[in-house]
């Protein structure tokens, strides 16, 4: 952990990272900014006069995670369910604008991962968090984090290699 995240002086950097993570998570820029906005609003309300936030970055990501979990639960409640067949169809339809074939494949593969694995892969692989930080942000034990990371990376690898993978993401 070479970086120190214990003060608000890098707030601009953190917010940029939150937006990136939210976009990777939702695949929808408007929804991503909405997530970040709610995250920041909650954070402002929670930064108490007397408390102390040791790791501002992890704190903000943790709130963003909570917001996202709430949103996902809401969607589930209102029946925004996507069947596996639909996912397969959408896989076949190239909607990504990336010219680079490998990037496009990764984007698609990532979209197929179960949400929980995707979060871990993004926090660790994209945001560069330590396993401990990521586990804190997601409120899960170290072992759970590691097994999600193992499975997620292996699934991505096999999807990228063109293999068919079972037990993929059913709900979006």
């Amino acid at each position: 952990m070479p970086q120190s995240h214990n003060d608000g002086s890098n707030l601009h950097t953190y917010i940029a990272a939150l937006r990136r993570y939210a976009k990777a998570l939702t695949e929808d820029p408007a929804e991503a900014d909405d997530l970040v906005q709610e995250c920041l609003t909650r954070a402002i309300a929670r930064v108490s006069f007397w408390g102390q936030i040791r790791n501002v970055r992890a704190y903000l990501f943790s709130i963003l995670h909570n917001v996202h979990v709430d949103r996902v639960a809401q969607k589930r409640k209102f029946g925004n369910v996507v069947s596996l067949e639909e996912v397969s169809v959408s896989l076949a339809t190239p909607h990504a604008q990336h010219a680079n074939l490998e990037l496009r494949d990764l984007e698609r593969a990532l979209a197929l991962l179960p949400e929980e694995q995707r979060r871990v892969i993004l926090l660790v692989g994209l945001e560069g968090m330590t396993y401990r930080e990521a586990a804190d942000v997601l409120h899960i034990p170290h072992g759970t984090l590691m097994s999600r990371l193992f499975r997620g990376r292996e699934t991505l690898r096999r999807l990228m290699a063109g293999e068919t993978v079972r037990n993929l993401r059913r709900v979006k």
């Binding site: 937006r19 990136r20 906005q37 920041l40 402002i44 108490s48 990037l103 990376r153 690898r157």
Partner: protein, 389 residues
């Protein structure tokens, strides 16, 4: 980062592979992994794939980091930054206030301690002051002349020791140093009665021994204080605090103090051994205790009688404690604790002054000796009262 031992030698723990991919390993472990991967091409390919995933994730999403932040988020950023800064400022102020409070408390406590130092922390110092004042008052050149009937009959040491330990003692005999007992008196003090014993040599030079009940039941060694032209040694055992004052050479005064300490504690011991009846004859009792100690040199027996017969050993006894006394004299106020730093064990122990092998434990009165007789019977009486009611 990853320190889990690998349960399967020759293979890699899965966590090691990922920690390697994510760059969380120490150099040493990293080198081990690289050696392993060099020998396992399939695993090496897997690692490369995982690495490529990380690189491509950045390629996919990093563009979003450089997009301008929309105004709604900018506004929230400013608000959050302000909240975080306020929080830091509060913590900083609280820390500062905390240290200021600690400093203020320390100052107040220090001042209070300074104000209350003498009476509270060292009753011995107050005791020596009383002793010195009493010496000036009753034994000094312009001192108060003895009132009629003050001499002789009333044994103040016996009275005081009876009061404190329940066993009467006689005043020490200093004839071996050329000092004759003149008279004793009981003086009232804030901490109960004190006995003052006045001795004079042939030229009329006074020495007084001042005895009162020990206030804190703590052993202290001989401590020297120069009070004007008077030299003063004080010491304390479990039962009594002593102060010996005289316009004398320090070394000589110390020898007298050692003789007194030895004699008194030996007498006290023998009184305890004889359990009462022998208390009228401390010389005999002390002799009995001498007989019970085969290692003791009879010539230096601690009874006044024996001393009177052979003063030579006492006088020629080594007196290394003088150094201790000098040290203590530098800071007399701290001597209650400071005197324990004395580096000369033989002379520094109040009862080892004669240096003739009397063992320390037997030479000193047991600390468990009855402190004040009054409160002890009071408790059973109270119990009886409760039983009756």
């Amino acid at each position: 980062m990853n320190t889990n031992p690998n349960p399967y030698p020759g293979t890699l723990a899965e966590e090691d592979i990922h920690a390697y991919v994510d760059g969380h390993l120490e150099a040493e472990r990293r080198a081990e992994i690289e050696a392993y991967l060099a020998a396992h091409p399939a695993e090496a390919r897997r690692v490369e794939d995982y690495r490529a995933q990380n690189i491509r994730l950045h390629a996919l999403f990093d563009a979003h980091r450089h997009e301008p932040i929309p105004p709604s988020l900018q506004y929230l950023q400013i608000q959050l930054g302000g909240a975080l800064r306020r929080q830091r400022a509060v913590r900083k102020t609280a820390r500062l206030l905390g240290s200021v409070t600690v400093l203020a408390l320390a100052w107040v406590a220090g001042y209070w301690g300074y104000q209350n130092y003498e009476p509270r922390t060292d009753p011995l110092v107050a005791f020596t002051k009383e002793a010195a004042e009493a010496h000036l008052l009753y034994a000094g050149r312009s001192g108060i002349a003895p009132a009629q009937g003050e001499t002789g009959d009333f044994n103040v040491v016996a009275w005081l020791s009876q009061r404190v330990t329940g066993a009467p003692l006689r005043e020490p005999n200093l004839e071996s140093f050329g000092f004759s007992f003149v008279r004793g008196r009981i003086l009232p003090t804030a901490n109960g009665p004190a006995a003052q014993l006045l001795y004079r040599d042939k030229e009329g030079v006074p020495v007084t021994l001042y005895i009162s009940a020990s206030q804190n039941k703590r052993q202290t060694r001989f401590t020297f204080v120069q009070e004007g032209s008077n030299a003063l040694f004080y010491w304390q055992n479990a039962n009594f605090a002593y102060s010996l004052i005289g316009e004398l050479d320090k070394d000589k005064l110390l020898q007298i103090a050692q003789l007194i300490s030895k004699g008194l504690s030996a007498a006290q011991e023998s009184v305890k051994e004889a359990a009462g009846p022998a208390s009228d004859q401390p010389a005999k009792a002390a002799k009995r205790s001498v007989a019970a100690e085969p290692t003791q040199d009879p010539a230096s027996a601690s009874t006044p009688k024996a001393e009177a017969k052979s003063p030579a050993p006492a006088l020629s006894a080594p007196v290394p404690a003088v150094d201790t006394g000098t040290d203590a004299a530098v800071k007399p106020a701290a001597s209650g604790a400071g005197a324990e730093d004395g580096t000369s064990p033989a002379g520094a122990e109040p009862d080892a002054g004669l240096g003739h092998g009397k063992q320390a434990p037997s030479a000193e009165p047991e600390p468990k000796a009855e402190p004040m007789p009054a409160p002890v019977p009071a408790a059973p009486a109270a119990e009886e009262q409760q039983k009756e009611s």
